[in-house]
Symmetry: C2
Subunit: 382 residues, 2 copies
Amino acid sequence: MNDFNYYNPTRIEFGKGKEANIGKYIAEYGVSKVLIVYGSDRIKKSGLFYTVSQSLTENGINFEELGGVQSNPLLSKVYEGIEIAKSKGLEAVLAVGGGSVLDSSKAIAAGAKYDGDVWDFFLHKAEPQKALKIFDIMTLAATGSEMNNYAVVTNDQTKQKLSLAGPETFPTVSVINPELQATVSNDYLAYSASDIFAHSLDMYLSATYLPAYMAGYVENILKTVMRTTEILLADAGNYEARAEFAWAATQALNFTTFCGVAGNRFDTHFLEHTLSAEYNIAHGAGLSIIMPAWMKWQKNNLPERFEQFARNMFNVEGADAGIEALTQWYSKIGTPVTLKEGNIPESDIPMLVEKLSEVAGLWGATSLYTKEMIRTVLENAK
Amino acid sequence: MNDFNYYNPTRIEFGKGKEANIGKYIAEYGVSKVLIVYGSDRIKKSGLFYTVSQSLTENGINFEELGGVQSNPLLSKVYEGIEIAKSKGLEAVLAVGGGSVLDSSKAIAAGAKYDGDVWDFFLHKAEPQKALKIFDIMTLAATGSEMNNYAVVTNDQTKQKLSLAGPETFPTVSVINPELQATVSNDYLAYSASDIFAHSLDMYLSATYLPAYMAGYVENILKTVMRTTEILLADAGNYEARAEFAWAATQALNFTTFCGVAGNRFDTHFLEHTLSAEYNIAHGAGLSIIMPAWMKWQKNNLPERFEQFARNMFNVEGADAGIEALTQWYSKIGTPVTLKEGNIPESDIPMLVEKLSEVAGLWGATSLYTKEMIRTVLENAK
């Protein structure tokens, strides 16, 4: 195994009805003033907001609120939250929603402890050393944000979709109640499955060294996602499947999959972020378009790994058969596999190559993400 | 999945030569006076003690030392450590050794912050709310103590082998350098494999509800242990196998295997602790004696689980075939599978039944661990 360090201090509270304890959890950390961040008004109509606010009040915690976070969350909304947090002297952020709401909350938490522009962190002009405490109640399982310190936000002006991470941007407590995730549409369930796949496969299919232990660990996550997605598409109310899906999503991006691995990259995430920033498609939908296209480019770099993937995941022989099997599975669950299916004009490819090449510059990765590599993958996605 | 919470703040520093950074790691937490706890003088002869003490000195950290911790570590040694820590005003304990050294260190850390008798914690007369900071450098992979908050200690007087756990008895930083674990004898490697198996199988074969995700997760740990043990018995210097073995050991008892599981127990650990306390045999050796005997008792309680185990782990059909395959594997790697092989007189069974029944009282588990159950398992181990 490659040398590594691992540290993940997030406390998980997993199970039915746990959101009703959120006030108690937060009070344990001596916090008395929080900003509730959420997306649409659905959480008010469903009663979730009431449950949460009542629990806060019962535990002597005051709160402000910031709604309207959208998928592919915007920097402008983060600025709003920072302004509220600073002006009201808030001590913590409580995200109630999916990955976009939590990522916005992490950015608000970091920005509220910083005198400069929070976007500096995304551009690596500054490091987010401090942050307000972060709590969350997850209504969607996909991004794994509930157990890592990363936040991905889109700059409304520049359409750049970039990330920050700091030592204090881990959630302190994440509440995962699978029942709250049962109202997701089948479309979004499929996009979520695609997102989890990409978190796992970006590593599995790029690592120059992958310990056998870790291969088995990741394959178990992926098989869990496949099995439970198929159950849930037919039976959205299946609690056990919903719960296993949620926990697999968390494991796929809580850094456990990277322990001892060498040379892993995030190619499909790199390539996708610009698609979802540009066309506002769901991140998972963008990923299922990019993944097979990227695999066709990547397969010759690690031929044995691709054979292992084909055999262990789909019981087929050869890299091409594995790519085809995954593509068919994406189609079967209902997430797009071509630019066309994602309503992205193929004629935009030259523009996308330029944009992505610019982002590669920000990532300091132009030698890896050459224009030729980017163009090849996008052409593969036709 | 069953409701659960998960929290594990231990930072892992894994890899070659990391022990030379121990002073830096400790200094990051503002600690300047530590107690180095170790077992035999081997760590002085090997140069490890010098490496560690030099790193401490370079980082401005003063230290006292306490050697002589033995396997099945004794309460009397813990008292010694507490006395030193209290009288010298030490802020942290640094364990350099295996699970016994680390467990002693955890007990010292808890006892140093307590006015009463540290044994109170083991008898559940008091809760160890506070502890000195705990750091460790692991020279043996087996117990998983490096990433959990449990400590198992034997009372020299009463021969009781019991455990404590508190919110502050997680190691702050655990250093795992597989190279330092390469000098373990083949005997002890086999005992370690048996210990890891028991951590996993106590759960896997007793849980009344085991999510499919978790079954796959644990099977992957066990398969890793089997594969790497066989490699290491033939080639002790194989770094990759040593590293995967070490990481599997850590995963098997860092609480990840319990997430969402219901009704799991620790039967073989309950039964074994009295054996190793009474006869001072290696914990892992005691476990490989108890495990097949316990499985024969347990198999009818969860027949489908035992079939799953047989099929997924050994590719054989039926509970009995699975038990037989595991027993043969234990014999093959060289860890005992009967009382006789462990030099435990079969004529002691009545005495052991009485002793274990007493411990069951301390665990508040006499309805589960009846004299009949205990006798049946011990008779199965003949």
